[in-house]
């Protein structure tokens, strides 16, 4: 990056207001050719709005977009693409029924006379791009038949149909496995080597520090500064992001463990998991760590009555139980905070109070009517206890931030006074600040005597909250660690299916 070099893209003083909100307040941002520039900020800090401005989906109220030295105006994503700016969306925006090639050239299919699609050219060109990306599938494949990672490749291939100057990756690794991430990072480095400017948006610090050259931080729609990655650390970035520093140390406060609350013996459900045995005591946090697809979520769903096991026993307080439906699990005091907050955890169109009281609404009645007073009492109690930030219980949960949404789901179960709390990916898509709040909350709940199971694909998270860690690989428990025994290496080995001799 020499000083005389022209930035591939430069945003100057971008202002964008929506009714009642100043979403972007004079933001400056630039990417040099061949640079990976990470864009960071909590949810709602303005990252997505800025990228939509860049992709021509929003018009800025003030400010300039300069591409390769020339100010431009872009009013549609197609125009932005023509200028060499390509956005790779967080949520895949592919047409699943069409072939990969059609998706790659969607909206700009090569045509023959009379508007007929030139299939030969289409497949030739798209296969050339897929080859460049080292993809092991061809353009003729229907997108629905591809894995998520390969679908992401199609999304990336889309970016390469033009001579891209700037490619924006918005949370690209959210649904990728570790192996798939490696491929993605190779592609990013390859693009970088070709002189493309990369904007990389992610919540995951480790990725940002591996990939990026510079980091720009937004907070509350305003520019907070740009750091050179090599000269900074997570601490400084976090402070810039949330305006305070973050306590990342593990809560080691000792609290005594109670009786075994939940025990599982030889639980199997082919082909998802087999011969699973473990137990959780009151006051204990057990972390389940493994790759996506290792069977952890499926075990949780079985314990919650959403799947029926082929064989094995579930014991609560030492006596065997039958769990055929979530209602049974709830009665036994087992509750599940599911992996996907928006699809499984909340009814987004309902308000905060109604979501929180949903499982027990049948019992919160005076006569035949739902008792509004009792409901509000519950909501107020857990709003204060969990520090949920919402103007009122009437707020629909759709508009809350990820952290607050997750707390509503947690509050929903706490208000039922469960014995066992299973939390699946508690901080997925949640910004750093709220993340550490949720970690502390989980520790605090254990201290109050709940038996807590945390399922997570993020190693720092598991290490931080667990008293014991169960490592899973391909539907089996490989090893159990106590917090004192565990090391990152042994954990990685265990979840990759490498058996090591048990160390005493």
């Amino acid at each position: 990056m020499s000083d005389q070099q022209e930035p591939a893209l430069r945003l100057k003083g971008i202002v964008k207001t929506f009714p009642g909100v100043r979403a972007l307040d004079g933001v400056d941002f630039e990417v040099m050719p061949g640079e990976v520039h990470a864009l960071l900020g909590e949810n709602g800090a303005g990252k997505s709005t800025l990228m939509k401005v860049l992709a021509g989906m929003h018009q800025p109220d003030e400010g300039q977009i300069i591409i390769a030295g020339k100010p431009v105006r872009m009013t549609t994503p197609i125009e932005a693409k023509a200028q060499g700016v390509v956005l790779i969306h967080q949520e895949l925006s592919l047409v699943p029924e069409m072939s990969a090639a059609e998706n790659i050239y969607l909206g700009e299919l090569p045509l023959k006379r009379f508007g007929r699609v030139d299939w030969t050219t289409l497949f030739e060109r798209s296969n050339a791009i897929l080859k460049r990306l080292n993809c092991n599938f061809r353009g003729e494949v229907t997108v629905a038949n591809l894995s998520i990672a390969n679908q992401q490749m199609v999304e990336i291939a889309r970016a390469l149909t033009v001579d891209a100057r700037v490619v924006v990756f918005d949370e690209p690794t959210a649904s990728l496995t570790d192996a798939e991430k490696v491929v993605l990072f190779e592609i990013i480095n390859d693009l970088k080597a070709r002189g493309v400017g990369i904007v990389y948006i992610s919540h995951r610090m480790d990725e940002i520090f591996t990939l990026s050259d510079r980091i720009t931080v937004l907070r509350d729609g305003a520019y907070r500064g740009t750091l050179t990655t090599a000269d900074t650390d997570e601490d400084e970035v976090t402070r810039l992001m949330i305006g305070r520093s973050l306590d990342l140390s593990r809560d080691t406060a000792e609290h005594s463990l109670g009786e075994v609350v939940l025990e599982v013996r030889d639980l199997s459900c082919a082909p998802l998991f087999k011969k699973i045995s473990f137990s959780v005591r009151a006051g204990e946090v057990v972390g389940f760590y493994g790759l996506v697809g290792a069977g952890r979520t499926e075990i949780a769903e079985t314990l919650f009555g959403l799947r029926s096991p082929d064989s094995g026993e579930i014991l609560v307080d030492g006596s065997p139980v039958q769990i055929n439906a979530p209602a049974d699990a709830i009665k036994l005091g087992i509750s599940l905070v599911p992996e996907n907050r928006k699809e499984q955890g909340l009814v987004l169109s309902m308000n905060c109070r109604d979501n929180m009281t949903l499982p027990q609404v049948q019992n919160l009645t005076t006569g035949p009517f739902v008792s509004s007073g009792a409901e509000i009492a519950i909501f107020d109690k857990y709003r204060d206890k969990l520090e949920i930030k919402t103007p009122s219980w009437r707020q629909t949960t759709r508009v809350l931030s990820g952290g607050n949404q997750q707390k509503i789901v947690i509050g929903k179960w706490l208000s039922m006074h469960p014995r066992v709390l299973i939390v699946d990916e508690p901080t997925r898509g949640i910004d750093v600040g709220s993340k550490s709040e949720i970690h502390m909350l989980l520790r605090a709940l254990a201290a109050q005597g709940y038996a807590v199971i945390v399922i997570s694909s993020e190693m720092p998270e598991v290490l931080r909250v667990s008293d014991r860690i169960v490592a899973m690989y391909s539907g089996q428990i490989m090893r159990e660690f106590t917090a004192e025994q565990v090391t990152e290496d042994s954990l990685v080995q265990a979840i990759s299916g490498i058996r090591t001799s048990e160390v005493a």
């Binding site: 109604d354 949903l358 499982p359 609404v361 919160l364």
Partner: protein, 324 residues
Amino acid sequence: MLLNRLKAGGPAIAKQGILVAFILFMIVFSLMSDRFLTADNIMSVFRQSAIIGVMAVGVTIVVIGGNLDLSVGSMLSFATVLVVDLHDKIGPELAIPIMVLATLCLGAINGFLIGILRLNSLIVTLGMLSAIQGLVLIYSGGQNVDIVDQRGTWFAIFGRGSVLGIAAPILIFGLMAIIFHVIMSTMPFGRKVYAVGGNPTASVFSGIPRSRVVFTTYLISALCVAVAAIILGSRVMGSQNNVGQGYELQVLAAVILGGTSLLGGAGSILKTVLGVLMLAFIQNGLILMGQPYYTQWLVTWVVIIVAVWLDVAAKRGRLFSPIA
């Protein structure tokens, strides 16, 4: 403040779109016909809207639960033919409960296929629409049915009677609307319907018995049809085989006009009542203005499109949306 909200794209108006449009229509019609705003006319519109209205109450609940019910029209034919035919054979005191049970069975079939087997509600109820019409023709052998002694039967009170000068159909409609509004807005069952319609998966993850809830919404819809059939049979004292034909669309139009989301999870019975009345007043107004009856279909369609547009605009916060 209102001005600010208007600047933001007009959601202030759009949120109350149905009410505003309703008032506008009332003003226009009352200017164009001096008979429109008379007590007589208003009462007669209320009375005529009762049958659609009672059915719309049930369908609103089905739609809030995230499904559709297109079978209510031919179910009405079935129920009316049955109650009228049985009236002279076994007397009204037996005819009514038997008809109600039979109609509930049809609702249970819908509920089983959609709630328990999780089949698509559009396809199931569209199929039921023609299947039940066939059932009616098999039952009646294609003959229309009549009640012979029209003056001597107490069955007449449902369609022709009145209490304190208010026609019975209006009272029944009002009662049904209030009962189900209370159930939907204040009872656990109502909350569960909103939850299942809003997000079926999250409802299951909260221990809500989704299948049972959907099943029950179809029973309620069938019950409403049975009540509508009592009003209709009692008023006409006879029935054609296809008397309910086309009612399903009018009912659905009223539900949509009332702002109930076809995606499920949102809507209100009282607003459906407003939708029902609005459709009825538009049809009545057009007739008073001397328009042929088929104009009402065109106008109804335009009104629904505008209502849906305003509804969507309110959610988007602006009237036009260049990019999705």
